[in-house]
């Protein structure tokens, strides 16, 4: 297609996305079946995805709505970086909406459906906003609509608590971002991001550092990086699964988007410690995220902690790019950013798939507790296969998409280590991050063997799990679509990675130092041909399968041997026992506490009931948030003394305040 055609396609499909979501909102408000609204939302997401792909090819689409007092309420400028995130939004949103049509308790109330569509629209606006006012408007809309979805129409205590913590943290983020924006607009004299990019060079050193830290805190909280992650494992599990898919797959990526947009695009190259801090936070989030996931046996909480882990992996890529910018090593910037953007899309796809799978399991077996599931592979084969593929992809196994982007992150870290232009301490940090990423990848394999095995394999552990039935066609379709895209992006990782490298190059290169043809592969220090490996592996599997079939006799079925008695689910390893060696290996971090209670039959040594409880201590919550929480309560108690409820006292306050003001004004 010629550029004009691509630009036309991008404009038309993005406009169609806006109109279709407006239609969806109207349908949701009107008293019609919620499925009509969800279908409109699915169509809007499809259009958004097509628009995102078109924008990746280069054109920039500008749209403006609702100019009030000279400030446009919605001021959109959609470039290739926005496109990279809109593609994720489109793909995940399409799957989540289709799943929502099929899932009968999805449209729990009219408010929920409206909030869902507002949430989708606000995500799109965040990725497309071109000025501070429009961005913050969309950002708040995103936070509030998702909070409505988390709390739901019939909240219980845990839901209310989760949404309070979520709201508190998300407003901490907004506050930090708003201050950063205020500083930027004051220095640049404009609310337009494009002007900030131009005038970023005039920022003083200290101002730049302050803005950097503010956006790190603001966007890092939304992304769920450690230690600002505490809302994430609470809020994601209580939302309906198609909303969890969007929150974990796309919404936390808004934090990554903001960090790349303002930390790299606007601020540009900074001192070396910026990249070092991002690298350290990335490595810490990755390792701690997966360790806490291992200790979980609630399927959705486990997946939520894996989001913390994957945000860490993405931040490793961003950190590589920032170190590259400091050192003026353009290929390293492109490599790190391409890795981060590719892993962002990949994580969106497989995490959405896994959350939809968890939702299907919950719908069929009425529990998310891994210790009460089991054996679902035989009653829900399609869900099992899709979830298994998602688990393999998130574990970073070749030839799937998760491996391709983790490979790029590894290449970036090893290149940081090998780059003589970078400070030796940062280079050493790059190698430590290689070790951290290797540990993370192996722990992710362990965790997903647990999650998949305990849910789908062996005997069902409860009657609910035994009575599970496969979910409906639309829900299966959504999961199959996402699983297929994980495989496809893995096989086509070469060209797809090249697209992200082009985005990174166009965003950061001041001069045309890198020719258009030199994309990902020549900038890395290794060799990985995903298409060749996929074809080779497929041929080998087919060959081994064919040889193993030659003259084979069908397997004889017999009960599992358990030393002469009949097998029972109680003999199986549980999720808790499966992760026990790792809980003990990482005892200094996880601090597992166990409680064993044995009730005996009266006067005999025989146990009547044995109960076992094990939990891990979340050090950051108990050591950081705990004291802060207690201190703020204590401060509030002190402040209460000011409030005595007598009119005279308040009048005295006012008189005092006026006197102080007069004294100040007189000087």
């Amino acid at each position: 297609m010629v550029p004009a055609d691509i630009e036309w396609l991008a404009t038309v499909s993005l406009s169609a996305a806006v109109l279709l979501s407006a239609l969806g909102a109207v349908l949701a408000l009107a008293r019609v079946d919620h499925r009509a609204a969800m279908i409109a939302a699915a169509a809007a997401c499809a259009a958004c995805g097509i628009g995102g792909v078109a924008v990746l090819a280069g054109p920039i689409v500008e749209l403006r709505f609702g100019v009030v007092l000279g400030y446009p309420l919605l001021d959109l400028r959609i470039d290739a970086l926005s496109g990279a995130f809109l593609v994720a939004l489109g793909a995940v949103g399409l799957a989540a909406s289709v799943y929502g049509v099929g899932n009968h308790d999805a449209g729990r109330s009219r408010l929920d459906t409206v909030a869902y569509i507002v949430f989708l629209v606000s995500l799109g606006l965040v990725f497309g906003s071109a000025s501070a006012f429009s961005f913050l408007f969309a950002w708040e809309l995103m936070a509030l609509s998702s909070a409505v979805l988390v709390v739901g129409p019939r909240p219980d205590r845990s839901m209310v608590r989760a949404s309070y913590i979520y709201l508190a943290m998300t407003h901490l983020a907004t506050a930090a971002i708003a201050i950063a924006f205020a500083i930027c607009s004051a220095v640049a004299g404009s609310l337009d991001f494009a002007d900030w990019v131009v005038s970023a060079g005039t920022f003083g050193g200290l101002t730049r550092d302050v803005v950097f830290l503010l956006i790190l805190v603001g966007f890092g909280t939304k992304a769920g990086m450690i230690p600002l992650h505490i809302w994430l494992p609470r809020a994601h599990p209580v939302a309906p699964s198609h909303v969890s898919a969007l929150m974990s797959g796309v919404m936390i990526k808004a934090g990554i988007y903001g960090f790349i947009r303002f930390g790299i695009d606007v601020l540009g190259a900074g001192p070396a410690w910026w990249g070092g801090v991002v690298l350290a936070i990335g490595a810490g989030s990755a390792v701690l995220g997966v360790l806490y996931a291992l200790a979980e046996h609630d399927l959705k909480r486990l997946l939520a902690f894996h989001s913390v882990e994957n945000i860490g992996i993405i931040l490793l890529g961003v950190g590589v790019a920032m170190l590259g910018m400091t050192a003026g090593a353009q290929p390293l910037v492109v490599l790190g950013l391409a890795a981060a953007l590719f892993h962002t899309l990949n994580h969106a796809l497989f995490k959405a798939l896994l959350f939809l799978g968890a939702g299907a399991v919950q719908a069929a077996a009425h529990t998310r507790d891994l210790n009460r599931l089991g054996g679902l592979a035989r009653s829900m084969p399609v869900t099992a296969l899709a979830f298994g593929l998602g688990a393999a992809a998130i574990s970073g196994l070749p030839p799937l998409n998760g491996f391709a982007s983790e490979w790029l992150v590894f290449q970036g870290l090893l290149t940081v280590g090998g780059d003589a232009g970078i400070d030796p301490v940062a280079r050493f940090g790059g190698y430590v991050a290689v070790g951290a990423l290797a540990l993370t990848a192996a722990l992710a394999v362990a965790c997903f063997v647990k999650a998949t095995g305990m849910t789908f394999l062996a005997l069902p552990r409860t009657a609910e799990a035994a009575g599970a039935r496969e979910v409906g066609r639309l829900m299966r379709g959504a999961m199959i679509g996402l699983a297929a895209s994980c495989v496809a992006l893995g096989v086509a990782a070469g060209p797809v990675g090249a697209v992200f490298a082009a985005v990174a190059r166009d965003m950061t290169s001041t001069a045309d130092s890198i020719p258009a043809a030199a994309l990902v592969a020549p900038q890395t220090i290794g060799a990985y041909n995903p298409a060749l490996l996929s074809v080779g592996l497929a041929a080998l599997l087919a060959g081994v399968f064919a040889i193993a079939r030659l003259g084979a006799r069908p397997a004889r079925l017999a009960p599992t041997w358990v030393c002469g008695i009949l097998p029972e689910p109680a003999f199986e390893y549980t999720a808790t026992s499966f992760s026990k060696p790792l809980r003990m290996f990482f005892e200094p971090i996880l601090r597992p506490a166990r409680e064993l209670q044995v009730e005996l039959h009266e006067g005999t040594p025989f146990p009547r009931r044995v109960s076992y409880r094990s939990e891990v201590d979340h050090l950051i919550e108990s050591r950081v948030y705990g004291p802060v929480h207690r201190a703020s309560i204590a401060f509030a108690q002190l402040a209460r003394r000011l409030q005595q409820g007598t009119l005279q006292l308040y009048l005295a306050y006012i008189v005092g305040a006026v006197i102080v003001l007069l004294l100040v004004a007189r000087r």
């Binding site: 090998g418 190698y431 540990l439 394999v445 060799a527 193993a548 017999a558």
Partner: protein, 320 residues
């Protein structure tokens, strides 16, 4: 003729895969026989693994009546991933059989793929022993993987590439100068995790049939017939892959550098000799060491990562 000529590439692919598949069971035979001799036992013949494979191949598998389709598919995937790794590691020549398909990160990824599928299949029958084996395997692997990648990162830092054939070529070109103190530290670090990855003492006992001590064998407990044959061959091949990785990175000498009859003969001979030497070393370790408590393993395996980080620090801060 250079190694990239089509005839040379085809020869390397066929010869390396044939060598790997052909001698993988022999290596296990040698290890077991040496272990027995060192313990003043007579031990089975070094050809016994071939007889076992042939016996299992002919038998009808017995499958748990509560297992899923994964039980049948897993052996094929595990062996396929392992053969794919053989196609990437340059064992015979200074060229991978499937050049350009992958580097050392891909080899590590393929081993992880095999582990993922095997550990899941171990859970499928619902026996406690399978769960125990899978749980321990993935726990130990998570300590092994940082050691593997960090010790290889030392070499990547020196060579500036993660491509195994390229690393081996640079190593041969360096000659005896390759054995710098940094590289020896990295080799020691890799050696420790290689023992764990191949499932030998003091991490795992490959001969144990006491359920509570099994790790890898525990995962194979429910496999039988042809499936057991495929999974056993895969674990024998894993030794070839790990030793091949070690040889390509740390002692690449003797590998085919050109496509001539003497070079090919030398390459095959040297590769075979390296594999047999490694099998003997594993046998001696098995005979000489006791299995460590599982909770003591983080110390041993963490030592590997620590050694590798020391080597990296030396590479960064000490003058060459």
């Amino acid at each position: 003729m250079t190694l990239d000529a089509p005839a040379a590439a085809a020869f390397i692919a066929i010869a390396q895969v044939a060598l790997a598949l052909g001698c993988a069971p022999l290596l296990q035979g040698i290890t077991k026989r040496l272990k027995a001799r060192l313990q003043y036992r007579y031990g089975p013949s070094i050809w016994q693994p071939y007889r076992d494979l042939a016996k299992w191949w002919a038998k009808t598998p017995v499958e748990s009546n509560t297992a899923s389709a994964l039980t049948g598919a897993a052996p094929v995937i595990v062996l396929g991933a392992m053969i794919a790794a053989v196609f990437i590691v340059p064992i015979l020549a200074l060229r991978s059989p499937l050049a350009g398909a992958g580097d050392l990160l891909v080899v590590v990824g393929l081993l992880a793929l095999a582990r993922f599928v095997l550990a899941l299949a171990a859970l499928d029958a619902g026996s406690a022993f399978g769960g125990m084996g899978a749980s321990r395997e993935v726990a130990i692997a998570s300590l092994v993987e940082p050691g593997v990648l960090l010790s290889l990162a030392v070499v990547v830092a020196a060579a500036g590439t993660t491509d195994l054939a390229h690393i081996a070529t640079l190593g041969v070109a360096a000659g005896p100068a390759l054995f710098s103190p940094t590289l020896l530290l990295a080799a020691a670090a890799f050696g420790i995790v290689a023992i764990a990855e191949t499932g030998h003492e003091p991490v795992d006992n490959p001969d144990t049939h006491l359920e509570l001590t099994m790790i890898h064998e525990g995962m194979l407990l429910e496999a039988s017939g042809r499936r057991l044959a495929l999974l056993t061959l895969a674990s024998q091949l894993k030794v070839v892959v790990i030793v091949g990785l070690f040889s390509a990175v740390f002692v690449p000498f003797g590998a085919m550098s050109e496509f001539t009859v003497p070079a090919a003969a030398l390459g095959i001979g040297v590769a075979f000799a390296k594999l047999v030497a490694a099998a003997c070393a594993l046998g001696a370790l098995d005979a000489g060491m006791a299995k460590m408590r599982i909770l003591a393993l983080p110390g041993l395996l963490g030592l590997s990562s620590l050694l590798a980080l020391t080597a990296i620090a030396a590479h960064l801060w000490l003058p060459a």
